[in-house]
Symmetry: C2
Subunit: 240 residues, 2 copies
């Protein structure tokens, strides 16, 4: 056995939804950080950093995400370990996490940093479907994270990580449409979610320019995402 | 950024099926290696070793599996990175792979090593459902790998990794029963697989003490396991 000289980095793909105007279709967006040094100086990269030897992997993902973007996610899960020999000039294995954050939480967190005058630098939000050439293998990593998100939204209540506590069926459908990048038939969608046990109707309604729409909440008895024997791992407080 | 002093190890959970007598129900089994030094000397552990800095992660999994057990799997996929601070006296992040190997291939590979007089030492096969206390967090890792196997057998043709090229529906059902650890109704099972596009009937039959049973093979147009954008990763030659 030889001692490994590979270094361990931790990065996070954190998705949110954004629409520029109220009637626009929501898009999946993610924050990237412009690199200020080589390798890949000036290219955009996933938020991340080195693993501290005394730090849990998930804690390192949260810390480096906060240090580089100022964001705290509502959902965080390990994605994959990317370790191709040629992905960096030195050998770096990146343990990558993926995370979700509601649009209103993004706005609140960004505003709080602006008030405190500690807004992170070199951060910009990008449309996940239209990325420039990123540093390292980060384009491949985002593609894989999007694939995981699309798969997972089909069999778990993962969309909750992008929704407020109570939401209308139209708002839920818009999250699915943004993630799957296609239109869903409203009547079929309503039938499917109403026949599942994941949603609980509340006695509140969203009122506004349209006719009042009932608000639903997620059934907490259904796991946000089935992580099997790993489900005992601590979830961020926002979801507990 | 501080330089990480954590070391990277690679381990593999490799499952096969075994029955002691022809009429026994098949059980999920895996090989473990007895540790000859501290930490956890004399306890059983997953086959593995240190990552060589010049080596791809998947190659390191194959190499350390071959070095410790003499086995070459028919399917290999990354499972998870286990990196809890207290899982080892020094900080070690283990990139864990999971693998499948047909029972007849296990027998052939073990016999070849015996003939060459290079049989690996300190290896023993265990029933996955009845494990002793293993070294490190390896009990937790095996539990998670079993959970992944059970999930994946439901929506992919992963069972192929445990079957010969051609097989009867009864043999396929036995693989599912062993993995899921429960009996399946033969008529329902036949209906389900015949209505899917994953199996192709051959014009050959298995003959023996029972009435002849048609042999099937997997439809190679259906992915063994959907790995999304990662599907371009090289698969072992046995499956190409």
């Amino acid at each position: 056995m030889t001692r490994s000289d590979a270094r361990i980095a931790v990065s996070t793909v954190i998705f949110s939804l954004r629409r520029d105007r109220p009637d626009d279709r929501a898009r999946v967006v993610l924050p990237l950080v412009r690199r200020t040094r080589d390798p890949f100086a000036d290219l955009w990269a996933l938020p991340g950093g080195w693993l501290d030897p005394a730090e849990e992997l998930e804690a390192a993902a949260s810390r480096t995400l906060a240090e580089t973007t100022g964001l705290a996610p509502s959902y965080l899960e390990q994605l994959y370990a990317f370790g191709a020999v040629d992905r960096s000039p030195t050998r770096v294995v990146s343990i990558v996490y993926w995370a979700l954050l509601r649009a209103d939480d993004v706005d609140a967190q960004v505003a709080a940093h602006a008030r405190a005058d500690d807004a992170p630098e070199n951060v910009r939000w990008f449309d996940a479907a239209v990325l420039p050439r990123l540093a390292f293998d980060h384009n491949e990593i985002v593609d894989y994270a999007l694939w995981r998100l699309r798969n997972k939204v089909g069999y778990s209540r993962i969309a909750h990580g992008l929704l407020p506590e109570a939401f209308t069926l139209a708002e839920l459908r818009e999250v699915y449409e943004a993630i799957l990048d296609r239109r869903l038939d409203p009547a079929n969608f309503r039938r499917q979610v109403e026949s599942s046990d994941t949603l609980i109707p509340t006695d509140r309604f969203r009122t506004g320019s349209h006719r009042p729409a009932r608000l639903y909440r997620y059934n907490r008895a259904v796991e946000l995402a089935d992580r099997g024997p790993l489900r005992s791992a601590p979830l961020p407080a926002a979801l507990s």
